[in-house]
């Protein structure tokens, strides 16, 4: 073990000192190793806690979508009321697909590339040089001009339209298949993917994921990213992009044995049905089809579309209905949103608000039913970049490393050969360069996680305080650890290790009791209007992402403005559906103040952006808070 033994030979008197020295060195080494391992483990645990926070909040947000989706159904059911007041509104809300009829030439020809543009210029038909050109340009933070973006999108749509719902792929001794996932939204990645796809249409296969959905883009800021990068043509780009999404295939089948889809399956998954459906009618997870029978269908369409254009004839065999039947819609939702779990059976995916949790028995049943051997999917961020479950039948691959924050997770991709045993390749963007030591990365991740958790607490401040006070009979302002943890978990609905997180969130006194109000001492929501009531501000802050989506839907021409009537109508509906106890006049007052130009229109993005959280102890003051 130790090299000192060799030195001891031939030196009788000093051997004992050497022994003692080496013994001391051994003990010292043990101390340091012991301490370091403890420290390193605690770092990893902190990293894991931060990741858990990110995940819980992301899933809780997705759960909020279910409520939003219900709201849209609710709106639809009450359409007659809206219809009488504003037929335009209804048409805009439910007639989105009518933008299909825009012609390619009409868009692209209007967008000129100026000579002064020094970004990448693509040549159609695209070749591999264009891919290289793009990658190099993006590395240098350049933006691709809208003209090329639109060209790429139109071309992609054209090619995708010809593809079946499931792409069939074969491996061969010479060909390897790599499977990965897109990760966070980014215009650049999307462009590279689409261009690569156009250059190698038989070698690159794209599947639709749950974020290839215009509603999800609204919520998670991709829409904002595009509108910000492309101020003039962003709206056009968004419209075409939404279309392209719907034409993405649902899945890929490799060698008739492996199914590659984004989310998962449910016990009712019927691949034969999915092969046949008209996938482009699946617009968004947040817009479920109305469950009425066929006879009423056509009548409803007539009143809904009112004065608007009848769907194109002659170009396609599209049925008059713009939406999928409900059971088909649900099948697609299951494919895009489900998660595998260890528990047997199939039950609703309550964290996401869509799809289901499916157990190993479901996997076996469905795979056997369609003579498949394996399911490869993505959808969940795994610390190691991939995970195998259900006895090797289900593989999760997640390719975006550092998904939540620098250091949060590794990314991975799979290579398949014709003998079908998958090989996994992991990576982490910062690990190769190793610029920052682990403890710094963990610190960054941890403080980011704690910040969003505090903002979450702030958005539920009234409910939290009520829960605390219920337990604090003596009105001392203190609770035991157990009481505090219980209230937090119940009110926020987040399953987190509260005891371990408490030092970051609250202060404790000498006896170990929690000062529950201490969280709220150093953060507050910046009031856009001073006179507005705290509860109103808090409610608006809490629902701001939902409101943003709703307003964006109303504002279908993406002008950023909605009229006062639209605002009021929408607010009334929102109020009643979400059972919020805010008086109409309060919101009216607020809206009037927000109408800075006094011209009857509200810039709702500015309105909602005005609700941000101020962290007194931090310099940051911009926090719309959502995951990018």
């Amino acid at each position: 073990m130790s090299t000192h033994d060799l030195e001891d030979m031939g030196c009788g008197t000093s051997s004992s000192t050497k022994d003692r020295k080496s013994e001391k060195a051994l003990k010292a080494a043990l101390v340091i190793q012991n301490w370091y391992r403890g420290y390193s483990a605690r770092l990893k645990a902190r990293q894991r806690y931060a990741l858990t926070i990110f995940q819980s909040i992301e899933y809780a947000d997705e759960q909020g979508q279910l409520q939003l989706s219900n709201f849209f159904s609710f709106m639809l059911e009450n359409y007659t009321q809206i219809h009488e007041k504003d037929p335009e509104l209804v048409a805009r809300l439910f007639g989105r697909t009518l933008q299909d009829s825009k012609d390619r030439q009409e868009y692209v020809s209007f967008v000129d590339v100026p000579d002064s543009y020094n970004g990448p210029r693509l040549q159609f038909p695209l070749t591999f040089t264009d891919i290289d050109l793009l990658v190099e340009a993006f590395k240098q933070q350049q933006i691709l001009h809208a003209h090329y973006v639109l060209e790429v999108l139109f071309e992609t749509k054209r090619v995708l339209k010809q593809m079946p719902n499931f792409t069939q792929v074969k491996t061969s001794p010479t060909k390897e298949i790599t499977i990965c996932d897109r990760g966070k939204h980014s215009m650049e990645i999307l462009m590279i993917l689409f261009v690569s796809f156009l250059v190698y249409p038989n070698d690159l296969h794209l599947n639709r994921g749950n974020h290839e959905d215009f509603m999800m883009n609204l919520r998670y800021g991709f829409t904002k990213e595009i509108l910000h990068k492309y101020k003039l043509h962003g709206k056009k780009i968004l419209q075409i992009l939404e279309d392209v999404y719907t034409w993405l295939p649902i899945g890929t089948i490799i060698d008739n044995e492996i199914l590659v889809i984004h989310g998962g399956i449910s016990e009712s998954t019927d691949l034969n049905l999915l092969h046949r459906i008209e996938r482009h009618k699946m617009k968004s997870v947040l817009m479920p089809p109305i469950s009425i029978d066929e006879d009423q269908d056509t009548d409803l369409k007539k009143t809904k579309t009112g004065a608007n254009v009848v769907p194109r004839e002659g170009k396609t065999n599209e049925s008059p209905s713009e939406q999928l039947p409900k059971h088909e819609w649900e099948q697609v939702i299951d494919i895009l949103w489900s998660d595998p779990r260890g528990k047997r059976g199939c039950y609703p995916n309550t964290s996401r608000g869509g799809g289901c949790y499916f157990g190993p028995d479901i996997t076996s049943k469905i795979l056997n039913k369609f003579q498949l051997k394996m399911l490869i999917r993505s959808h969940e961020c795994k610390p190691e970049g991939y995970e195998i479950c259900h006895d090797g039948k289900v593989v999760t691959v997640f390719s975006a490393s550092n998904y939540y924050e620098e250091g949060s997770n590794r990314g991975a991709y799979i290579k398949l050969c014709c003998d079908m045993t998958p090989r996994f390749f992991q990576y982490q963007v910062t690990r190769a360069t190793c610029l920052r030591p682990l403890y710094q990365r963990v610190n960054t991740m941890e403080s980011s996680a704690i910040r969003i958790l505090k903002e979450r607490m702030l958005s539920r401040k009234t409910d939290l305080i009520r829960a605390f006070q219920l337990q604090d009979r003596s009105k001392s302002g203190k609770l035991s650890m157990g009481q505090w943890a219980f209230s937090m978990e119940n009110t926020l609905g987040l399953n987190l290790p509260w005891r371990s997180l408490s030092p970051h969130l609250v202060t404790t006194d000498k006896n170990g009791n929690i000062n529950y109000m201490s969280t709220f001492q150093d953060i507050h929501i910046q009031k856009p209007v001073k006179e507005a009531q705290s509860t109103l501000i808090e409610t608006l802050y809490r629902y701001r992402s939902d409101l943003q989506i709703i307003f964006n839907v109303i504002d279908s021409d993406h002008s950023g403005l909605i009229s006062m009537e639209e605002f009021r109508a929408m607010w009334k509906l929102f109020n009643s559906h979400y059972s919020i106890h805010i008086e109409d006049f309060q919101v009216d007052e607020l809206a009037e103040r927000m109408d800075l130009n006094k011209d009857g229109s509200i810039d709702f993005n500015e309105f909602l952006k005005a609700f941000y959280v101020v962290h007194k102890l931090e310099k940051l003051n911009k926090s719309d808070g959502q995951s990018p």
Binding site: M1, S2, T3, K24, A25, L26, K27, A28, A29, L30, V31, I32, Q33, N34, W35, Y36, R37, G38, Y39, S40, A41, R42, K44, A45, R48, Y49, T52, R341, G342, K343, E387, C389, C434, P437, L438, Y439, Q440, N443, M481, G482, A485, N495, P497, W498, R499, S500
Partner: protein, 228 residues
């Protein structure tokens, strides 16, 4: 104290009191306190009262109250430990089926504030593993073992000054730093050697890039701040 008691009359029931005291304290079970209570009632039976002096009565009363208090607070402490252990366990339980990968047990134990050596960790794992190791540890087996560890305050963390002295031992010429090569040699050849990954991780934070050495006093100070 015991010798004193034995010298008294009616020692048999005093001894049985002590027996009960030790019995339910070991079991940490509230139901056993009732046994103690019954014994106590037997003690203050009016017929017997005259036999004991008031001094002894108050002593026994105090002991009884202290037992009850210890049992109560022990119950509360144990309950809190259980919840703390459950929280730490659940974070690593990815399948939500009350099992964790055995390779994460070390991290869980250390995140609860204990600092076992690698050898001690191996012993602990052996205690919580199934008879035929599956690679997974079940919560039901982990909880009682971990509760004992916390109650007995085993594997206490290394105090800062011990850590500093350890570095000073390795720095025989008292320069105030260790070279990169020296640290690598000690950490990978002595004691419970580091893996290559562990060594790289430690170096990335500890080495001062300009001097390419480890100024251990600063390093320790930095780590301590980070942990608090």
């Amino acid at each position: 104290m015991f010798i004193f008691l034995i010298a008294q009359q009616r020692t048999h029931w005093i001894l049985s009191q002590i027996q009960f005291f030790l019995y339910f304290l070991k079991k940490k079970s509230f139901s056993d306190v009732s046994l103690f209570r019954n014994t106590f009632l037997f003690i203050i039976n009016p017929e017997e009262e005259t036999v004991l002096s008031k001094g002894w009565m108050s002593f026994i009363l105090l002991t009884y109250v202290e037992c009850l208090w210890t049992v109560f607070s022990l119950e509360l402490v144990v309950a809190e430990y259980h919840r703390k252990i459950k929280e730490a366990f659940e974070v690593f339980d990815h399948e939500a089926n009350n099992t964790v990968d055995v390779r994460e047990i070390g991290t869980i134990i250390r995140s609860l504030g204990c600092c076992p050596s690698e050898g001690e960790l191996h012993d602990l794992i052996a205690e919580v593993e199934e008879e035929e190791p599956t690679g997974y540890i079940r919560y039901e087996k982990f909880l009682p073992v971990m509760t004992e560890v916390l109650l007995e305050r085993r594997y206490r963390p290394i105090p800062e000054d011990t850590l500093l002295r350890a570095f000073e031992v390795l720095d025989s010429s008292k320069r105030g730093f260790l070279t990169r090569e020296e640290l690598i040699k000690y950490m990978t050849e002595e004691g419970e050697p580091f893996s290559q990954e562990e060594m790289e991780e430690m170096l990335s934070a500890a080495v001062d890039p300009e001097s390419n050495s480890i100024h251990y006093k600063d390093y320790i100070a930095m780590m301590v701040v980070d942990e608090s």
